[in-house]
């Protein structure tokens, strides 16, 4: 048997496939379509201190190979999550990671602290990369200094394994990653969505009520993969790759580029059981290649000789 387990900084996962925040609801939405126990981990929808209304519709639009969303982090708030969702979710044998955001550093800190007080949460993912809210979110993720400061404060507030989710809109994503590492993060996840837009030419109006939204899905995979490769070289804490992963091959590309684990987002909408198929595909690949485990694969990209010399 191949060993699919992996470690993302203080958190051991039974396999490297994690359902991405915002694309998997509170997890429970999917339990009719797949076995949650199969997942390496599951990241719930971004939570804030208080319930969040989200943005006006229309909130999504399909683009070629991808989709734009401007959900705006609608959520029931950290307390309702702990009361209503967590007890049900805890019954599954899966790492539960909570994605958090705030409009201020203080709000992030409070949510992280609140989550640390309860049983059954295996990790926190700090979202400093949502392009769909006006205050907070991506503001912290674009600037290395702010990202570092926020990470540090949340680090002080919680002993839970801390993953920090970066935005591809950062001016220099490797620099942000390094600052986040230095500030005490246990792992780094990337990428969140790219800022995009679409227009209805019949009405000359934007197709999203908020004009712009976040682009996700297979369309962004080549850029996401390149960024993961770069960041994996820039930091020494584990990197969790995401952006357009929709098959075992996609996941393997990220792992070979240096990711210890991957997040599957938009692909859950295309096929609610895709994560399980990806896990099985990775297992089969390791078996075919006669590899003992994921670790042998992480960062195993073979650089052509002519490129090695010129870099």
């Amino acid at each position: 048997m191949v060993n699919l387990s992996t470690n993302t900084g203080g958190l051991t996962l039974k396999n490297p496939v994690i359902a991405a925040s915002g694309t998997f609801g509170y997890g429970l939405e999917y339990c009719q379509y797949m076995d949650l126990n199969r997942l390496g981990g599951l990241i719930v929808k971004g939570l804030s201190l208080n319930p969040h209304l989200g943005n006006p519709p229309p909130r999504i639009i399909e683009t070629t190979g991808g989709m734009l969303n401007s959900i705006g982090l609608q959520n029931i708030g950290v307390d309702a999550f702990i009361k209503e969702k967590l007890p049900l979710l805890r019954q599954y044998d899966v790492a539960i990671i909570v994605n958090i955001f705030g409009q201020t550093v203080e709000e992030y800190v409070k949510v992280a602290r609140r989550l640390s007080e309860v049983e059954g949460i295996n990790g926190v993912e700090i979202n400093i990369s949502c392009p769909n809210i006006k205050a907070g979110g991506i503001m912290f993720g674009k600037d290395p200094q702010q990202a570092g400061f926020l990470t540090k404060r949340v680090r002080e507030a919680t002993p839970l394994p801390l993953m920090v989710k970066l935005t591809p809109e950062a001016r220099n994503i490797s620099e942000v990653a390094q600052r986040v590492e230095d500030s005490g993060a246990d792992s780094i996840s990337l990428v969140n969505t790219f800022l995009g837009m679409a227009i209805d030419v019949e009405t000359s109006k934007p197709l999203l009520a908020t004009i712009t939204g976040g682009l996700s899905g297979p369309a962004i995979k080549p850029i996401a993969l390149r960024m993961v490769w770069e960041v994996a070289q820039a930091v020494s804490i584990p990197v969790v790759g995401s952006g357009g992963i929709a098959s075992a091959r996609d996941a393997l590309e990220f792992i070979i580029a240096g990711a210890q684990a991957v997040q599957v987002g938009t692909a859950n909408f295309i096929n609610p059981a895709i994560s399980v198929e990806i896990i099985e595909g990775i297992g089969k690949y390791l078996q075919d290649k006669k590899l003992k485990g994921i670790k042998q694969l992480v960062g195993s990209l073979k650089i052509p000789a002519h490129e090695k010399t010129s870099h």
Binding site: E29, Y33, P56, P57, I60, E62, T266, I270, N271
Partner: protein, 271 residues
């Protein structure tokens, strides 16, 4: 609620840019209520990327139970769909959402359908007839005579048909809401036991809802929205609802068309 593999039996144009697709698959224990829907994955690649929502209807054929959908070609996804050939394999998620509810003691139904909105209402009509509710007024509007779906089928039935077309090629020349409003004005109803059911373009639904409320007629609207997941996870299909709960400070909140609907009580919707 499952993800199943189905096969295209046929896919033919029945009205201008309106197709009927018949699917075969493991539909034995597939129970669809009128108003519920399915999400269909169109093709095997990533274009279109997301599944598309459609009302579906179970039909018995010689070969067993099939699923029938009627769809209009309105954009990129349905255009590609219209080119799918028999024997193609697709993936189908469903049944999804909450359908129409027929309250106990309902004796009559006023049904208002705009364009493709007739599709889920057709299933409702048969259910009403099955439930021995025979006072059914169907108000059916479309662009033109050739776009009136199931028109013949309904004429042969015991339901009372009111037709309008935007170009006047059949029935009233104008909007179906005009006909509906005019009818209510001239035919006082025993309101308590009548229910209004409606599906169609958003502007039509809004008008129907306000007419129904004027006559204190309970009204169920089937809403549409762009969907990504269809199962309540993405929050993409949000519709503004009036907030009845006291727990929240805001006077409104967002419901999910896919799982809180697609059928809503018209009074819940913040138009």
């Amino acid at each position: 609620m499952r993800n199943i593999h189905v096969k295209v039996v046929s896919n033919q144009e029945t009205a201008p840019l309106c197709f009927r697709m018949v699917l075969s698959g493991p539909f034995e224990n597939f129970y669809l209520q009128p108003g519920q829907f399915i999400m269909l994955r169109i093709g095997n690649g990533y274009d279109p990327l997301l599944r598309r929502p459609f009302a579906a209807y179970k039909v018995k054929t010689l070969k067993g139970i099939s699923l029938e959908i009627f769809y209009a070609v309105v954009g990129h996804g349905t255009r590609i769909m219209s080119r799918i050939r028999p024997d193609a394999e697709l993936e189908l998620l469903g049944p999804l959402g909450n359908g129409f509810r027929i309250p106990d003691r309902t004796t009559g139904a006023l049904i208002v359908a705009g364009g493709m909105g007739i599709v889920p209402l057709r299933a409702l009509i048969y259910k009403l007839l099955d439930t021995q509710i025979h006072s059914i007024h169907l108000f059916m509007g479309s662009k033109s005579a050739s776009h009136l779906l199931f028109h013949k089928e309904f004429q042969d039935n015991e339901i009372l048909l009111h037709v309008s077309t935007e170009d006047g090629s059949n029935g009233h020349h104008g909007l179906i809401t005009e006909l509906f409003s005019h009818f209510l004005e001239n035919h006082p109803l025993k309101k308590d036991n009548n229910v209004c059911f409606t599906c169609g373009p958003s502007s039509m639904l809004q008008t129907v809802a306000s007419i129904a409320s004027r006559y204190r007629l309970p009204c169920q609207v089937s809403l549409e929205s762009r969907m990504a997941c269809g199962i309540g996870a993405c929050l993409g299909c949000a519709v503004k609802l009036r907030n009845h709960s006291c727990s929240s400070s805001s006077p409104e909140n967002y419901g999910r068309v896919c799982i809180d609907g697609p059928v809503f009580d018209a009074r819940e919707v913040e138009w």
